[in-house]
Amino acid sequence: MSEGHSTYTPKTGIGRWFDARMPLPRLVYDSFIAYPVPRNLNYMWTFGGILSIMLVSQILTGIVLAMHYVSDTSLAFGSVEKIMRDVNQGWLLRYMHSNGASFFFIAVYLHIFRGLYYGSYKAPRELLWILGCIIYLLMMATGFMGYVLPWGQMSFWGATVITGFFTAIPVVGNWIQELLLGGFAVDNPTLNRFFALHYLLPFMIAGVVVLHVWALHVVGQSNPTGIEVKSKTDTVAFTPYATIKDALGMVVFLLFFAYFIFYIPNYLGHPDNYIVADPLKTPAHIVPEWYFLPFYAILRAITFNIGPIDSKLGGVLAMFGAIAMLFLVPWLDTSKVRSAVYRPWYKLFFWLFVANAILLGWLGSRPAEGAYVLMAQMATLFYFAFFLVILPVLGLIETPRRLPNSITEAVLEKNKGGSGHPAGATASPETKG
């Protein structure tokens, strides 16, 4: 795809003058207008665009919120309430920002699951996948630090628990925790540095997004069949086909987003965070934001010592290990076939994995007692088995279904016996994941 020659021809004198000096319009034209995309992309491929919109939205609302927010423990909570009550449109901007974080994560989870289902991480897209994992890590760090800023009870105790992870590291753990906190407990220095980093990280995300898109444009997009583009008939131009499809995806996504902002703005939050932080009183149940819940469940599932590793370090290692699995996926999956469409067993295990991830999320929101602990242990076991056993073994023993010779053949096969409806860029419902 990248090897295709640029077809950009500036039409005006100014255009030619510019093109000879700094061909930015050419870059935009080649990347977002003439850029060829597989003709069979379905709506699961619109989340890249949706994620870009969410990043921009978070940065814009974040910058204006920072103009009213005060990062001092005695003023932070009040300044957020001032934003809600006194600042013109402050309530809207804050709800856009807090719900925006959740919707950013909804989109990124769908984007990741899309990649897992269609095997988008396989050669030559390993680096593209890893850059995505790095973005996800940066998003988690940003989301965590942002949640601390309102200085409510969940902010404070979430920060205490999460920075407490680092004390599990032998020898240097306590030093690292003090380095993060700037003290012996979460306090004013912690709030100040989290604010500074919360402002910085989104721009680092934007930087990695540029690399992510760059890597994408070198190897080209994968597609629901997982077969590489072979000829010109396999592709359509990015504009108008993908642009319009992305635009519709965004509009539908933003409708859901708007529903949350205007009708249930606190649905995804926690009421305890409307109580100002109290360093001497821990809330009855500390729960992180919903998007961390599966990992939180894994953390709490390790209640036993494993050899020399005590349960605390074990839990922290399991939690970080769960994220590390994602980075290794390109090498854990041994199958030559990308798409789950042609892998009946993988398709089954994929959906079990999705169900298991949702189960882990639910368990993360439950108190750590009784049957919940055992369930979380089983679900954690399946989580790791999926990556470390099922993915490698399945690729060796599974018999995939016959692959079409090309994307075009796959598309025409799907529409066989139908009307003369143009097949380009339309997806069949069963591949929508």
Partner: protein
């Protein structure tokens, strides 16, 4: 210099390259250090603020929480039953056999005496009220051992503040403290 010439002997120029490179590394590290160091607790935080607490009003079975270094410190005048229950526990039943008492040697055993304020003051328990798992504040006189219970991840401590069940790895820490009079404790 001449990378293709594999047989050449180290000369003056090689030495200069290595020396310059090393100077660059040391320079970069010494510039980087202030950026890392500023993250550490500052002088006002480090200044070991010690607190003095009047415990005259604490009858047996009553507790007091004071803030020290941003963390809560539990001071409890334990009932004779609580002390007795803690003394009867055998050391091999404990998940963490060390006293974790900053006033004693680091290898002191987690007997109830070594957890408490010492001989003659066995009823007094002074400890940092922070769960050793992930830093929540346990609730007093709750849980299976009628000691402390951490609501976050279910760690259970006994009446001596020793970890008995759940994910926490260590007994709750006893800070440096001393009785400066019969009714006054200085922490830190």
């Amino acid at each position: 210099m001449s990378a293709t010439d594999e047989t050449h002997d180290p000369n003056r120029r090689d030495f200069l390259y290595i020396a310059t490179g090393m100077a660059g590394v040391v320079g970069a590290a010494s510039v980087a250090w202030p950026f890392i160091d500023q993250m550490q607790p500052d002088a006002s935080t480090r200044a070991l603020a010690s607190v003095e607490v009047d415990v005259a009003s604490l009858q047996p079975g009553m507790s007091l929480t004071v803030k020290w270094r941003g963390k809560p410190v539990f001071i409890r005048n334990r009932t004779p039953e609580e002390v007795k229950a803690a003394q009867e526990v055998k050391l091999e039943e404990l998940k963490d056999p060390l006293a974790r008492n900053a006033n004693l040697a680091s290898d002191a055993q987690a007997t109830d005496l070594d957890r408490s304020a010492g001989k003659g003051k066995e009823n007094w328990l002074v400890m940092v009220g922070v769960c050793t798992h992930l830093g929540c504040i346990p609730l007093g006189q709750q849980g299976e051992y009628n000691g402390w219970f951490c609501p976050c991840h279910g760690s259970v401590y006994d009446t001596s503040g020793r970890i008995r069940k759940g994910p926490a790895p260590e007994n709750m820490a006893v800070p440096v403290f001393s009785f400066i009079s019969d009714t006054k404790i200085r922490i830190g």
